[in-house]
């Protein structure tokens, strides 16, 4: 992999939240790269630290309640070393963020146009007229039929899909190199989902942006992502190209996720359910394989004491050695525990 095309290098990043005076890691020692013209999907269950990773990159955490270590190298700048003022030069201009819930992510009291052009107020020297033109262009680009009308409307007058388009328009207003989309389609119905994903892909092609797509929806991943990082309990457990992840998943967690995904051609099968839950921050295991408690049939000897990422070639990496002999209990023809 050429280092020049990696414009975002996340190295050994941990984010800890303060709960009752003690710090607990929400994500620990995450390493990731994102390239131009690439969609990197981060998948995992709720509570795996996906959104924390996104907000860490954006620097949206309250420094009094979080402790962040590691480096986030963005085009040669370590974002984590920046102060608020320095960060604001990147937020909105070079990094755009799309949020999960379009219903609440827009200011209810401002017209759409004002909310989009606000980004340009801080990052461009555009005149009022140029800003207006750009807003029209953006609304058109994200697939809004009547940009003039929508620009004058308030968020409550728009449908969920329209609002998400507006949020995308805000995120891409200054043509950022990196777009972080945190569950951009979760709150939308399936047809709108597909449209929004199309919009994202088009924008990426046009701007040569890199996109971090955070989602728990494997269908969305299969449709859009070039590369996939699977996250569990604050760690990356497997990383590879979309093909590698979908066609030859290795880590038990990845395989469990894929098995629990409904498939059209296998209607009569019961869906696979992963036992247990993602541990809460305070109960997060700090040693051993964090996923091991949810695959109790796997003997302890299969796991590494301190699971490391193992390179399987072609950029495919997996954490822990337990993947080698991993089988689901029903497929071994064995015990259901």
């Amino acid at each position: 992999m050429e280092t020049t095309s990696n414009f975002l290098n996340i190295k050994d990043v941990s984010t800890a939240f303060k709960i009752n005076g003690k710090y607990y890691d929400a994500i620990s020692h995450v390493n990731l790269e994102v390239n131009h013209d690439e969609i990197l999907a981060i998948v995992g269950e709720s509570g795996c630290g996906k959104s924390t990773l996104a907000t860490t990159i954006m620097g949206l955490h309250n420094p009094a309640e979080t402790k962040i270590t590691g480096t986030v190298d963005f085009e040669g700048t370590d974002l984590l070393k920046l102060d608020e003022k320095g960060y604001n030069k990147f937020r909105g201009s070079k990094i755009g963020m799309i949020f999960q819930d379009p219903l609440s992510a827009l200011n209810p009291l401002k017209r759409v146009e004002a909310q989009i052009s606000e980004v340009m107020d801080y990052h461009t020297d555009f005149t009022a007229e140029q800003k207006h033109d750009r807003v029209m262009e953006l609304l058109d680009q994200v697939g809004i039929d009547n940009p003039k009308r929508t620009a004058r409307q308030f968020p409550h007058e728009l449908s969920g899909g329209m609002r998400q388009r507006v949020i995308i328009a805000i995120a891409i207003a200054c043509k950022p190199d990196l777009i972080i989309a945190d569950e951009p389609t979760t709150a939308l119905d399936v047809t709108i989902q597909a449209q929004i994903l199309d919009v994202l892909r088009d924008i990426q092609k046009e701007n040569h942006a890199g996109i971090i797509l955070i989602t728990h929806d494997l269908g969305v991943v299969a449709e859009t992502a070039d590369r996939v990082a699977v996250m569990y309990a604050g760690q990356i457990v497997e990383e590879g190209s979309a093909e590698q992840i979908f066609n030859s998943p290795k880590h038990p967690y990845t395989r469990s996720l894929l098995r629990s995904m409904p498939q059209i051609d296998k209607q009569d099968d019961d869906l696979y359910v992963i036992q247990g839950n993602v541990p809460s921050l305070q109960k997060m295991p700090t040693t051993g394989d964090r996923f091991a408690p949810r695959t109790p049939w796997v003997p302890a000897s299969e796991h590494e004491a301190d699971p490391k990422m193992h390179d399987l070639g072609d950029g495919h990496e997996v954490r822990c050695t337990c993947y080698k002999n991993f089988e689901f209990p029903d497929q071994q023809g064995g015990v259901k525990s």
């Binding site: 608020e84 960060y87 604001n88 963020m97 200011n107 209810p108 009291l109 606000e118 801080y122």
Partner: protein, 319 residues
């Protein structure tokens, strides 16, 4: 926008009718009559009977109500039994005093409350926030009239900085000196009222700002690269002031109601003091008129709140 206002006013009409009916019937239900106390106790009961009949007090209640309403529309609220002058004139001379006091108190309340609430919320959990919250809890837990009495005692009596009664000094000449004297007389009741009224607004605003701080749209604003000061100015404060603006209408009516305490304790000749005196003297015409006016003012207050809200909040406008 005006459609919302119009619709809101339409809703108010039945409210006013019901209010007037209630006021009238309550006044009717009160014991005693307006004449027994004012005529010679040895007078012939027939004479009293005659007086009652002359004044239409034996008519059926709906007849009396109708007469009352017709007179109301002519601006005739009857004569005060106590002062022997038209109630309308009596009240309007007092209303001016109450209005000035209420206005002054409102302005002061918001001057105190807005910066306090915002500052407390912005520095949530820090020392200034703790001090402001301590102040609001203490003030909130003490009855209003106790605060007033303490205020009079300290600033009016012990320190002697302010007059403790009246609305104007008897020696004041017309013109600048009389205006100054009026202002001087409303300073202490105004400040005391504001210190008390501040509490609600501060608490309300503080929790609104804290909610807004954590809201998704503020996170969106931050992710746009908007500097923190502007995030507060354009998003957090603006949005949390909205319910406060709406609250203003109610708070004005709250002040009018509170004026009953303030004016009684400060012997300030406004509507509140008139109200208490009229009750003591069973001055029914004045009482009914005042209850009706207070009632209508309350309705107007809520109307004002709704209108303000429809101006500042696009979500509740009817297109």
């Amino acid at each position: 926008m005006w459609k919302t206002v119009l619709r809101r006013i339409m809703i108010m009409i039945p409210e006013v009718i019901i209010l007037s009916l209630l006021v009238f019937l309550l006044a009717k239900a009160m014991p005693g009559d307006p004449f027994t106390g004012s005529i010679n106790p040895k007078a012939d009961p027939a004479q009293l009977h005659h007086l009652m009949e002359m004044n239409g007090l034996y008519d059926p209640w709906y007849q009396q109500y109708w007469n009352w309403v017709v007179h109301l529309f002519h601006g005739n609220l009857g004569n005060s039994y106590q002062y022997q002058e038209p109630v309308a004139r009596l009240i309007s001379s007092r209303a001016v005093n109450t209005l000035w006091l209420a206005l002054f108190t409102t302005v002061l309340t918001y001057c105190f409350a807005l910066p306090m609430g915002m500052y407390a919320a912005k520095h949530e959990g820090k020392l200034p926030d703790t001090i402001i919250r301590f102040y609001t809890y203490i003030t909130y837990s003490i009855p209003f009239f106790v605060i007033l009495v303490i205020g009079i005692w300290i600033f009016g009596y012990v320190l002697g900085w302010f007059p403790t009664t009246g609305s104007i000094s008897s020696t004041a000449n017309p013109g600048i000196s009389s205006a100054g004297s009026r202002l001087y007389h409303i300073l202490l009741p105004g400040i005391m009222g504001a210190l008390f009224g501040t509490v609600n607004v501060v608490q309300y605003l503080r929790s609104e700002v804290i909610d807004a701080k954590r809201s998704d749209y503020v996170r969106t604003a931050r992710s746009k690269g908007v500097p923190e000061a502007d995030v507060y100015k354009h998003h957090i404060f603006r949005n949390s002031l909205l319910p406060i603006a709406a609250f203003a209408g109610y708070s004005i009516t709250g002040l009018l109601n509170g004026s009953i305490f303030t004016e009684t304790i400060f012997s300030y000749p406004g509507m509140g003091l008139l109200f208490i005196n009229s009750i003591n003297y069973r001055d029914y015409t004045v009482i009914t008129a005042l209850v009706l006016i207070y009632g209508i003012l309350n309705l107007l207050g809520t109307l004002l709140s709704d209108i303000i809200l429809s101006i500042v909040d696009p979500r509740i406008r009817i297109e």
